[in-house]
Amino acid sequence: MIHRALAPALFAGCVSAAVQAAAADGADDKPYIVVDGFKVDAKTMNGFRAWRAAACDRCHGANQQGLVGPSLLVSMKTLSKQEFVKVVTEGRLEKGMPSFTTSRMVMDNTDGLYAYLKGRAEGAITQARVQEMPQ
């Protein structure tokens, strides 16, 4: 059993303004930046690209709502960054979650992937399909 300390998540209810949220474990205080609900920073965009390349939607659903795999809109509310990286790296084989150690796309973008999914779970990123915000 992993003991989880839950920090209060900042709720980002302000649409059409840049939103920054704190990660639940405080390890990363700026996981994502989002404007208008779907325009994200470069790191988060790469996280979305990793999400697509690894075909995460086949188990977790096109909108992260959950299919054979759990809803990430729910589980990412409480999963710490550290736990997230562990699951993506090692997988949960008996439950059907693969290990992505051999996927460079995923391994190079775990920060962005965490940011993207955190933004989805917190409701700040309002649609699964995101775009890169203009620089």
């Binding site: 697509r52 390349a53 690894a54 075909a55 939607d57 086949r58 188990c59 659903g61 096109a62 909108n63 992260q64 709502q65 959950g66 299919l67 054979v68 809803s71 809109l73 729910v74 997988g91 084989l93 008996e94 439950k95 059907g96 979650m97 693969p98 290990s99 992505f100 051999t102 996927s103 460079r104 796309m105 309002t126 649609q127 699964a128 399909r129």
Partner: protein, 600 residues
Amino acid sequence: MAFLPLLLSIPRMAAANGELEKLISDPKNWAMQAGDMYNQRYSKLGQINRQNVGRMQVAWMFSTGVLRGHEGSPLVVNGMMYVHTPFPNKIFAIDLDTRKIVWRYEPRQDTAVIPQMCCDTVYRGLAYAENKIFLQQADSTLVALDAKSGNVLWSVKNGDPKVGAVNTNAPHVFKDKVITGISGGEWGVRGFVAAYDINTGNQVWKAYSTGPDAEMLIDPQKTMTWTDGTLQPVGENSSLSTWQGDQWKNGGGTTWGWYSYDKALNLMYYGTGNPSTWNPAQRPGDNRWSMTIMARDVDTGMAKWVYQMTPYDEWDFDGVNEMILADLNVKGKPTRALVHFDRNGFGYTLDRATGALLVAAKFDPKVNWATHVDMKTGRPQVVKAYSTAQNGPEVNTKGICPAALGSKDQQPAAYNPKNRLFYVPTNHVCMDYEPFKVDYVAGQPYVGATLSMYPTPGSHGGMGNFIVWDASQGRIVQSKAEKFSVWSGALVTAGGLACYGTLEGYLKCVDANNINKELFRFKTPSGIIGNVFTYQHKGKQYIGVYSGIGGWAGIGMAAGLEKDTDGLGAVGGYKELRDYTDLGGSLTVFALPDQVVATK
């Protein structure tokens, strides 16, 4: 010829497996997954009939101890029942006199296989021949067990799960060979079918779905295909010339469906799956011979004829669904027909001896990705608005019907020889499809498209239909709406019944002459994606089915969302299915009460 010395290497003459033929000719057995070699799923048993089926009761139940999707059905051979499960692919041999477990077998498999099976751990069942049970494990190992003791006789590795080559299909015994395929189209696995000697496990032949003629067991001059309204040789490098560069090496065309066999022609029939990736921009060309009906000589593996249904797939319309063999009057002419309900929404009728295309028509009126199949070229006429290739990568093509899981997936249809009609469990689902570029990494998913699926708009609101189809004319005779996809294999019996399971978990039996007349329903412990089967023991007919929700039906249904923001409050699809059922794994067997049997 008893005076001949026994020579092990003498090739047998054209007979099917004699013992297996004898077993399937006796309707008391259910000795093959489809009940026969023609994939007809028809039983001559008539004790349970349209008059008395309403009084049918549960006779006994059996829990497999495994959750997740239970596809296929048990086998029944000479008073023994052989039950299989999804991963870890357990087998139980049950004595039907005592209902005791005579032996059980559980292979040891690496759990790393589970994620490679995305998105469920289904296994479509066992095969039997000559006192052997054949198990096709998920990790690709093919095993022969002694049917009486469960002792392993031989085992052979069929593929490499490290690169995503796993198995979900049932092996099939034709003659002295056990024939199996491979899964992993979403991992860029190059599909093949392989035949192994039932006695030794030695590989007799192996035929790839893509690549050079020699590896495909294609003869450029003798292998025929429907061209310009007639049958013509495929010519040199018919596959290689339709791929760009080396893309065919990771080109898919996997073979995870149901196979059939015609003894008189000595041909086996099966279909190949989608070309990899799902992003058509990465593989310009017809991508032969993915999405293809194959007819092969069982002894040599050589392809007699091929017919590609969906050249240059842009929607993931695998062509693996069963090929049903039946002798029909097609447009007034007696025909040795092959009938196939494809994922792409078209029902095909071909001459199974020659490969001539006779009928191709929509078996769901809402199919919209193509207007029709040109009967001269055999090519579907694609509608530009629904072409994910023409719309290009990074564009979400919306409103394509059917969805990737097809107007029908692997759930097998049944044939009724009494009226020469087909009883088809179907899906009624549409999709949005956005392709994108993806790089191949061995052992990692290689998909390259994001899909959303939802109930067919502008219809009855449900996600399935159970239909009756006339394959001679290519028309729907009757249709019965279902709330969810009908993901269960159908059974038709001489008692005038058509039976199938539903995702909510009901076993339903309807009048074969009027499928909207429901005669029996019973809610089993979990959603049904297994195939209905029947057998007789000690004078009593039984009808049985696995329940255990899973497969793409139970999990691959993204909810019909108006907006992404509807996410958690989604209606339709899986979210709603959860209101009816949960995971399970059991067999439910039905029969008539003794007093009803006695008064027959």
